[in-house]
């Protein structure tokens, strides 16, 4: 197992009110091994989403380095930058805003295909992509608002997988869904991870989900990683005081 995602001394500052600086990410380092499901947990403002956005080349870091499959997106050559979209993809939290309301599902899932660079793999069809995530091919003609939240998240996964990525970032992929429907999407993600040999960076505030599905976890607080390790071990015997408080705060259902 070799690391495919490497984050070294990553720092991100935002300008705050009246010339102050808010440090959203503070000297964060971690790596994710190939075919691993790596969880990042933390509360709002902990910096977990900013880390993901830096990796996705959406937010420019203030300091430090990141690399995915050997490409540093912030200093890559033009050709590497183009290839980068086939290395890493994303599924966002809100299935309502993550799709253009004026595009049909077929257009949504194939939007990235035109920027694909590698031509040795066959270009998937809409039907194949929808089938991959368990949606009927007839959904190609539908608009996002005609789908339920869970179905939209499936389509979002299809859109990401169309690019044939090695790494998938899932930023709170189920927290906008009703509780009874979350399992469907999570099981799909897990089985696709195995099937396609994906590496998944799973960002969540839900410790239970992370514990059940991730191989390793990093706990973030105020822009720093306070603890990294095996999820079960980390949440059952937290060593960091913040992790202890976080674990104690999670409302748990009594075991029958």
């Amino acid at each position: 197992m070799s690391p495919i995602v490497v984050v070294e001394n990553l720092t991100k500052d935002y300008a705050g009110p009246s010339k102050s600086v808010r440090r959203a990410v503070d000297d964060v380092s971690f790596h994710v091994n190939e075919q691993e499901i790596f969880g990042i947990v933390g509360e709002s403002g902990s910096g977990k989403t900013t880390v993901a956005r830096v990796l996705l080349r959406l937010t420019r870091p203030t300091g430090g380095h990141v690399s995915v499959a050997g490409i540093d997106p912030w200093s890559a050559s033009r050709e590497d930058r183009r290839r980068y979209h086939e290395v890493i993809q994303v599924v966002f939290q809100d299935p309502y805003s993550s799709m253009d309301p004026r595009m049909r599902i077929g257009a949504v899932v194939t939007e990235g295909l035109r920027s694909r660079r590698t031509h040795d793999r066959p270009v998937p069809t809409v039907a194949e992509l929808l089938d991959l995530v368990g949606l009927p091919a007839s959904y190609e003609r539908m608009y996002p608002h005609e789908l339920s939240g869970g179905q939209r998240q499936r389509a979002a996964i299809a859109r990401a997988l169309a690019m044939g990525p090695q790494v998938l970032v899932a930023d709170e992929p189920v927290s906008a869904l009703d509780v009874s429907m979350r399992g469907q999407v999570l099981n799909l993600l897990t089985s696709l991870q195995v099937e396609l040999g994906l590496t998944v960076l799973f960002i969540s505030h839900d410790l239970g989900i992370v514990q059940q599905m991730c191989n390793r976890v990093a706990v973030m607080h105020n822009g720093r990683i306070v603890e990294t390790g095996d999820p079960v071990e980390t949440f059952e015997n937290p060593s960091d005081p913040y992790t202890q408080r976080l674990v104690a705060s999670v409302p748990r259902i009594p075991v029958s």
Binding site: R82, H85, D94, D100, E111, G112, S115, A156, R159, M163
Partner: protein, 296 residues
């Protein structure tokens, strides 16, 4: 600056918010159909006015100042004995053509500047903001008058002058919309999928800006028709012999003590046209989103 173009808000009755839909196409209301028919009629006037040139240029100095409903002259005649109904219609055609030209130019310019300012980096944003605010500093008609002084009076002057002022307020609205659109996750997703800024602008921004654009474009047509008539009234717009509602009104004003109907009739046609276009704009806004145009 916070201030921007403000157009009167419409309030959509609760009952009409649940639109009837069949296969994704909203069925227009009867009001909508009626308004569309009237717009088509207006378009016909624009297209046909030049063809009937001899009708609105024919003079008859023996029949000046005929009152309305005279035989052969439903609106009466003017000081040169020209038929007022045909002159009014021809003038309306000119006004609407000017309005369409202004709306097209202002919308195109406004969309480009708004998208560039909202999405193509901080330098572009600061620059476009300053350009917008400087343009904004001059009341629309004032700048039109200044332009007229520069280019000389005429319809081209009117079109250019109005387009070059009216785009600013529109552009500010578009910029605001883009600032909110760019934060949507589907734009982030498109970036991760490797689309560049131009592709995202064309694929995601323009289609989503279309409703606002359409509503405001119709509103601009109405505004430009009034402004054209106003400038022609001042003698800065259409020059004789080009017919114009504004010059008919100016003439009517000179003979106001003698006859009142040219003012009433030309003014009435102008008012009804603006009312029609305002209603179309309101209907479009209701159709798309009652919130469009409410923002500052």
């Amino acid at each position: 600056m916070v201030t921007s173009l403000v157009i009167a808000p419409v309030d959509v009755p609760e009952s009409r918010r649940h639109k009837k839909r069949i296969g994704g196409i909203t069925i227009p209301t009867w009001i909508g159909v009626g308004l569309l028919a009237l717009c088509a009629l207006l378009g016909l006037v624009v297209l046909l006015a030049p063809a009937f040139r001899n009708l609105w240029t024919a003079q008859d100095l023996r029949a000046t100042f005929l009152p309305p409903l005279s035989s052969g002259h439903p609106f009466g005649t003017d000081n040169l004995g020209r038929d007022l109904m045909w002159r009014t219609l021809a003038g309306l055609g000119v006004s609407v053509a000017v309005g369409l030209g202004v709306a097209f130019l202002a919308v195109t310019l406004g969309l480009m500047v708004g998208i560039v300012g909202g999405y193509f980096g901080r330098a572009a944003d600061v620059t476009s903001n300053i350009v917008i605010d400087v343009t904004w500093a001059f009341p629309a008609i004032l700048l039109a008058v200044v332009f007229a002084g520069w280019l000389g009076p005429g319809l081209l002057t009117v079109v250019l002058a109005l387009a070059l002022t009216e785009w600013a307020g529109f552009s500010r609205i578009i910029r605001g919309e883009v600032l909110s659109l760019r934060e949507r996750d589907y734009v982030s997703a498109a970036r991760v999928l490797g689309r560049n800024k131009v592709a995202i602008s064309l694929r995601h921004f323009v289609p989503n800006l279309l409703p606002v654009t359409l509503v405001l474009a119709v509103y601009f047509v109405a505004g430009a028709i009034v402004a054209e008539a106003g400038l022609s009234f001042l003698g800065i717009g259409a020059q004789p012999p080009t017919p114009s509602l504004g010059s008919t009104l100016a003439q009517g004003r000179d003979y106001l003590t003698r006859t009142w109907w040219p003012v009433i009739l030309a003014g009435g046609v102008l008012t009804l046209t603006v009312l029609l276009l305002n209603s179309v704009s309101d209907q479009l806004r209701e159709h798309f989103d009652p919130r469009i145009g409410r923002r500052r």
